[in-house]
Symmetry: C2
Subunit: 193 residues, 2 copies
């Protein structure tokens, strides 16, 4: 049991790009729709509304919140938990931030229809599983932070340089899947430290 | 097709309780856990972050955002859409605002487990359907607005005075369902205009 004085893990994260930061931005590329401004560096800050992230020299900032999973079922969850490792491993000096927005047509689908596209047609969970534990991942939701967020999801990936090819395979498979027909904006930001 | 100049319907709503407002508060009752402060009146304001709701004399204010449905499947959605009517009907001079928070145990369940409790065990969708079109309803999500929201959901109901008994049946059935074992805070605010 956790002690009553222990805080729950942070859920809200800010990705702040600017002149300086923990990660060096090596590439900013629009995949679908409008890109983000170029920036030299990026910091990832666990920040609730009251925390000052620092406004100086920000090229852009995006916020996302870790939430419950929307599609994963129990057997999948157990398999993921058994294989995955956390963020922050010393060998993982490469990262990617991939903000995406899904279309109005996606959000008008019902739960069974979205699950069908997401997994039965696109194998989103199964594809990600193949790259565990090499490719660590954290999904942040933006859509319900407010009505004016520029993206629906921010996915953060960390991996070692020798797994960079595997990471390209992973994103290539997802982008070729039926689910990606519902993506109307995607930016690919690559980083190293 | 909608015209390009037409705004999408508002998603973010603020429920502001205080000395004055559109609705008269007739009852504020804690069902599970801590209540909300008593207030004489309540206003429901469609408000993005930039809109000033007015701070004067607010007893409390809660925010929630309309989002995609998490459990409803296509056949259920079609049946709901065929039967339901909108908010704001002239005859609907009674309303209820029921803020609820679900437990950590709920949020740790996977999608299939939550759907099983929600519908297979609790018949949440089927129960609501029985009271359409008399009881109109709008669900607002709070949990992903930020990490510090006091509730996970705000449900707003409107009905005519002659359907007040039906509304008691509806909430009574839901509160007796297995899903309600996962509710750790619930307040029942009743209103008239």
């Amino acid at each position: 049991m956790s002690s009553p004085s222990q805080s729950p893990p942070p859920r809200l994260f800010t990705f702040a790009a600017g002149a300086t930061g923990t990660w060096t931005v090596t590439l900013t590329r629009p995949v679908i729709g409008e890109s983000l401004p170029d920036a030299a560096a990026l910091s990832v800050v666990a920040a609730g509304p009251a925390v000052e992230v620092g406004e100086t020299a920000a090229a852009w900032r995006l916020r996302g919140i870790v939430s419950n999973e929307r599609y994963v079922e129990r057997a999948e969850k157990d398999a993921l938990v058994a294989r995955q490792e956390g963020l922050g491993r010393a060998a993982c000096t490469r990262a990617a931030l991939i903000p995406i927005r899904k279309s109005a047509a996606w959000w008008a689908l019902t739960q069974d229809e979205r699950r069908d596209v997401f997994e039965a047609q696109s194998r989103h969970i199964a594809i990600g599983m193949r790259y565990l534990p090499a490719i660590a991942r954290r999904l942040h939701h933006c859509r319900d932070l407010g009505p004016d967020e520029p993206f629906d999801f921010l996915t953060w990936f960390e991996f070692a340089p020798e797994d960079a090819g595997a990471f390209e395979d992973l994103v290539g498979q997802l982008r070729a899947s039926p689910e990606w027909r519902f993506i109307d904006r995607e930016v690919d930001v690559r980083l190293s430290r």
